[in-house]
């Protein structure tokens, strides 16, 4: 067992990393979709779409890596969680279908019918986001496991807590989306996004607070993890850092800076995500299955580790290049040309 402890932990970090990169990259473009109804002008919508059109597909590939990687590295967890999260997962997939095809379809529809794909983009983005947030809450509150199977019903995920996490994630993605627009656009559109960012920041702080307060009530082990001595020495920096980033974010918004709001919002996400990790570790299915119990045989994990070690840096490299190619403000009419 000692031999596999290390590699299972490494893989837990790799999967966590893939999911986080997904949240970082697809979060803002889902957020843009949710904010779409607030920008009724067609020219604004075109700019919003064009600001992510070249990269959305790569962003969603991280979701495939999170799912596929989990099946490969932690098949037991994948086999238990997917049926447990059945309805949110199906809803997420359907949401992603509608928003994904909208990127191309809205240019192909006749002008009178374009609005349908705008609705599909907004609705699909909202549905996918709520489903992801609900899935997160459902995992945190724990699922019923029997042997190597999920043992609960297909509506067990639906609780006030999972609804809370669903809404919280939607608020967070909206803030990412709004600050992305501050970064990528100019003029009246940027001004709208800038004002929205204020409201959304306070909403997100409220959401982080609500989830942080509610989580310890789910399970006494979460409470001990966060508040018991000496853990608190290690966990206390997380809320302190949240406060510090919030202060920086308020300053950046007050000064109407371009780039800082978006990246500081990402920092808020990173801290919230670290908090989740602190709550869950070393469980992959909270209170039921640890990462070592769920781990693939060592040779499967080692086989993939070679690929990850070489390919992830390469992928990050050419992804960064693609973002660099499409850097700068997106202008109405001129697009990328």
């Amino acid at each position: 067992m000692t031999g596999s402890i290390d590699i299972a932990t490494i893989w837990a970090f790799i999967i966590a990393f893939a999911v986080f990169v997904y949240v970082v990259m697809d979060g803002f473009d889902l957020g843009l979709g949710i904010l779409f109804p607030l920008f009724p002008e067609k020219s604004d919508r075109d700019v919003i779409m064009n600001s992510v059109a070249p990269v959305w597909d790569g962003n969603e590939t991280w979701l495939v890596l999170g799912g596929g990687g989990m099946m490969a590295a932690f098949p037991l967890a994948y086999a238990v969680l997917m049926p447990a999260l059945y309805t949110p997962m199906i809803a997420m997939l359907i949401g992603l279908i509608f928003r994904g095809v909208a990127f191309e379809f809205r240019w192909r529809a006749t002008p009178g019918k374009r609005n349908r794909w705008d609705i599909a983009f907004a609705g699909g983005s909202l549905l996918a986001t709520l489903a992801q947030g609900i899935a997160l809450g459902a995992i945190l509150q724990g699922v019923h496991v029997e042997g190597r199977h999920y043992g609960g019903g297909w509506w067990d995920w639906l609780t006030p807590f999972s609804i809370l996490t669903g809404v919280a994630l939607a608020v967070g993605y909206c803030l990412l989306g709004a600050t992305w627009l501050v970064l990528k656009t100019e003029g009246a559109l940027r001004e709208r996004a800038y004002h929205l960012s204020w409201y959304l920041l306070f909403a997100m702080l409220g959401a982080i607070g609500a989830v942080s307060v509610a989580t310890p009530f789910l399970n006494v082990q979460y409470t001990e993890r966060w508040f018991a001595w000496p853990n608190v020495i290690l966990t206390a920096p997380v809320p302190i850092a949240v406060a510090a980033v919030t202060a920086l974010l308020l300053r950046a918004l007050a000064n109407k800076w371009d780039t800082q709001p978006f990246f500081l919002t990402l920092a808020l996400f990173a801290l919230s995500y670290a908090g989740l990790g602190i709550s869950m570790y070393p469980y992959i299915v909270p209170q039921s299955i640890t990462i070592w119990q769920a781990a693939s045989p060592e040779n499967s994990q080692v086989f993939m580790l070679f690929g990850v070690a070489v390919l992830i840096p390469l992928i990050l490299g050419y992804t960064a290049w693609a973002y660099w190619v499409f850097r700068g403000k997106v202008r109405a009419g001129s697009g990328y040309h």
Binding site: I94, W107, R148, P297
Partner: protein
Amino acid sequence: MFEGWDAVALARSQFAFTMSFHIVFPAFSIGLASYLAVLEALWLWTGREVFINLFNYWLKIFAVGFGMGVVSGIVMSYQFGTNWAVFSDKAGPVVGPLMAYEVLTAFFLESGFLGVMLFGLQRVGHRLHFFATLMVAIGTLISAFWILSANSWMQTPTGYAVNASGQFVAADWLKVIFNPSFPYRLVHMVLAAYLTTALVVGAVGAFHLLRDAHLAGARVMFSMAMWMAALVAPIQILAGDQHGLNTLEHQPVKIMAMEGHFQSHKEGAPLFLFGLPDQSDAKVKYAIEVPKLGSLILKHSLDAPMKGLDTVPRENWPPVAILFWSFRIMAGLGFLMMGLGLFSLWTRWRGTLYQSRWLHFFALAMGPAGFVAVLAGWFTTEVGRQPFTVYGLLRTAESASPLGAPAVGSSLLAFVIVYFIVYAAGLIYLFRLMAAPPHPGEQGPGSEAPARAAGITPAAGVAAGGAAR
């Protein structure tokens, strides 16, 4: 809703439905990405404007098809967990890493360079843009490599052991990846993708030649597509024959079902041309057969004995009628494709390639033939794997998630509704793009979208088109 239904049957229907809608897009993308790379290379090499016009024309179609392939593909990658949890737990350690490598080596490559390919021609320069196009094309091929390896391992599992938890684990990764049916399946599928694309390109070319036989873009695409059909269709028939012989060696029961061989034939098996296989009576009704031809094709000897399904326990039989018919549809279309290729060679030799209306009507009718053949072929090989998910080792009935019929049925219904909305719209848009002829100054998706956003004036369009040249 769905109380009392069979949850496993619903899960299988869901997989068949979502997979069938998905597979046509990768099949098209693999071929079209390579075609686009060829067009761009020809443009860079010769500088002829017609090639960049065709590139931009097909790039818009590629973008729509690729998007539909991506979103339907995400569904597939999660469906293993949602509907086939026991399979995921048991086979995940072997199949999972192959799919993870597909994501790492192929999906990221395609999606990472897709944005530059679609929108970046003016941003990065011609050579770097061509590099992006190449990366997308290579990505689609690498993707085929891994997913067909995983699929083939489920058909002909080798290089594995079973651990204490009842999971398959890899004993030898090379034997897992290069399992016996993989090379045949890979060649057969990649050729199928190329043929499928060639037939679509040929049909679009034919459609526009029927209206105007002098249209330069239509002539070039039609000629290129007909060369592909003429060269690749015969190779594909040979590859299919070799794949069949490989299947006979490793999955003989599948061949018995494809051939409708319920009975063993000690002195040469017939080839059933047509008939209605009856699973419960274990015979082919109303059969039209050629004596001993089955043995000649499969064993290369008229009198070679062939075992039938009567040597196999009934609980291990796949559904014979589906295999029997899907195989015949695939093979029949393959010969029609070869016929189209030969017809085109004849008209080319006579100098009437761009004038022969019969050829153009034939090519137009064959436009969807590649998709139908791909689907029929996949039905043959996947239904032929039944009643197992991992052939001979893990039964389909024992692979499903512990979910009731209401859950699986509802999600199936949801996917059916969503796919019919989305795919109907997508097909309309694809047909609309294909119905417009390629014209001089054709623009790619990148220049068109923002230009429209500004409320394009003709002058701006000409300027953008000029820049694209």
